[in-house]
Symmetry: C2
Subunit: 355 residues, 2 copies
């Protein structure tokens, strides 16, 4: 049966991408060799890396503006550390909107003073703090654009004169933004870009080289820039699949087109959550709702077994909420078709009729 | 045409492993979902991770002796840093046997005093230093078991009372050793274990927790041990393929059986290098020769075009030497069949007949 994959990440990727990736594991580019058994210095793989880096800047409209795109190791969790290692001299401002923001703050505290300018920890992160002030004397401001666990998403980003750093792990390539407002963007691949195992970093070069500490080679963005993202052996397969996904996005009209579909998916599901008396949304304010991850719960827990059996029978996968929130989480990343959301909405409506 | 893949890494993997990996990219475990689009917290993937970790300890005969096997991000290059971050309080001893050892020394110097107890840098690393003394007051001794670029390999490891740390990136699982002599072993996956994108660390827990500095979460081995190697999203595909390769090794009799084949391959090639007047081995002493990577050059450079055309016509891939050494490098990792080495030897003998 065709699955409707609402997994929060690693998550659904386009079927055509998975098909090509599968073929490359046995025979890449007609070489009669697997993608994963050739040198990363071979022209075949260098082309993959360069194409992927170029597609990133093209999608984000950041070409020829001093930005470099890197595919690094370590996941966003290593970026929590690298951001501070590379940019934090004395003090930085952080917005605390959830588990991942909290972890980024913890790592940054090892390197300087952290000013938490806004936090929604008081309400289990069910809203996005607003009307906060970013001090002018901080080295940078860090925020998380989308909070996968809680289902909140920043719709606006602050105007500030300090470097703007953003963890976009779970919503990059999903909506049009003025990405040139940001000085450093990072994202684990495993949502809208590819499989786990590589991390995208887009950095404006002129913010680097300003801290006084010595940065270990592997943690220094300048190392990776100087080696065209090939300082050490890159994660070949995750980067190749990311390249394929970025190509798929381009063939499908780019971010502006996928955003329309993402808006339609989110509207369909949130309309049902609001309409159907059996369900409650988790997020306090409608304007803070994530278009990637919708968090909701049953108004009456006694319906849990029936509901769970129904969505599983409909071929839905990955709908359980994160343990920090409970209930359900429907992740609607770029590769999830509108039809899958309709299947979920049908199951929710069926539950209402049966109750 | 069937390729004879002598690539230095990423390198040849067993065909049966690549076939299974290819299938898992479209349909894993009969789930009708790709391996790379399911949650890493799902039972299906947790089983992969646990099986891989267990197989590592089983192959190395390190079960129930206080060791933990971890699959981390970052490659051996990040381990250069993590080893020092976790173990270096004041001083450490390093053996410098090549480019990677040199890089590990560079990173460690950020954290304490480094005593280079032996080095073959004076002769472009064409031998393994011996008769060195490891001071008793160092925090650990670090060495590189096999030097991919230069084609040397340590045949004996020092007896010492300080923790023994070894970068086994390019020869782990290729030969029987008393692995319990080592306190920390690390290896990038992309030689005998799997595709690039994951790094194996085997650490004896009792050597940890002894430095006074605060270690960032992602760089702290204790973080990863406490989370069963799942602190953050692991590199799902590289770890799955590593598991398949470790299973393949077990089905083929384990390290002791593969070592016999590795010995036969090395004997076949080195015998020809020594016999054939057209070729010179790079390594100074026969006892230091690597059974994984054989480095050699043509005695007469005017034969280069003919030789290159011949091995390419025979379906051989990846024979060019590293730029630091020049000439040729035949990497004979576990998955390379004896037949491929025979094809190379035939090409070398043909060249002699034609000259």
């Amino acid at each position: 049966m065709k699955k409707h994959n609402f997994s929060a990440g690693p998550c659904i990727l386009p079927q055509s991408v998975l098909q090509k990736a599968s073929e490359a594991v046995t025979n890449f580019n007609g070489l009669d060799l697997s993608l994963v058994e050739i040198s990363h210095r071979s022209k075949d793989f260098v082309d993959v890396m360069e194409n992927a880096r170029e597609l990133v800047l093209e999608h984000l409209n950041l070409q020829n503006q001093g930005y470099k795109a890197l595919f690094l190791h370590g996941g966003a969790s290593l970026e929590f550390l690298m951001v501070a290692y590379n940019l934090l001299e004395k003090k930085a401002a952080y917005l605390n909107t959830g588990t991942w923001a909290d972890k980024s703050i913890k790592e940054a505290k090892l390197f300087g003073e952290i000013d938490i300018v806004g936090s929604s920890k008081d309400a289990n992160f069910n809203y996005i703090p607003k009307n906060y002030t970013i001090p002018s004397d901080v080295d940078y401001f860090h925020c998380t654009s989308n909070n996968t666990i809680f289902g909140t998403q920043m719709q606006e980003f602050p105007e500030t004169n300090v470097p703007l750093v953003c963890d976009m792990s779970s919503d990059i390539f999903s909506r049009v933004l003025d990405f040139s407002k940001f000085d450093l963007i990072y994202a684990g691949a495993q949502k809208n870009m590819g499989p786990s195992g590589t991390t995208l970093v887009i950095v404006k070069e002129d913010i680097l080289g300003k801290v006084s500490r010595t940065i270990p080679s592997m943690l220094d963005y300048q190392t990776h820039i100087s080696k065209d993202s090939m300082f050490n052996t890159p994660a070949v397969f995750p980067i190749y699949v990311s390249m394929l996904t970025l190509e798929w996005l381009k063939e499908n009209g780019g971010i502006s087109e996928i955003e329309k579909i993402n808006n339609a998916k989110a509207k369909l599901l949130y309309t049902e959550i609001d309409r159907n008396p059996l369900f409650n949304g988790f997020v306090a304010n409608a304007e803070d709702r994530s278009k990637m991850n919708a968090t909701f719960s049953l108004a009456n827990d006694s319906l849990k077994d029936t509901f769970d059996a129904s969505w599983k029978a409909a071929g839905i996968n990955g709908l359980n909420g994160h343990r920090s929130v409970g209930g359900y989480r429907a992740s609607m990343y770029n590769a999830l078709p509108l039809e899958s959301v309709q299947v979920l909405v049908d199951v929710m409506q069926d539950l209402e009729k049966k109750s």
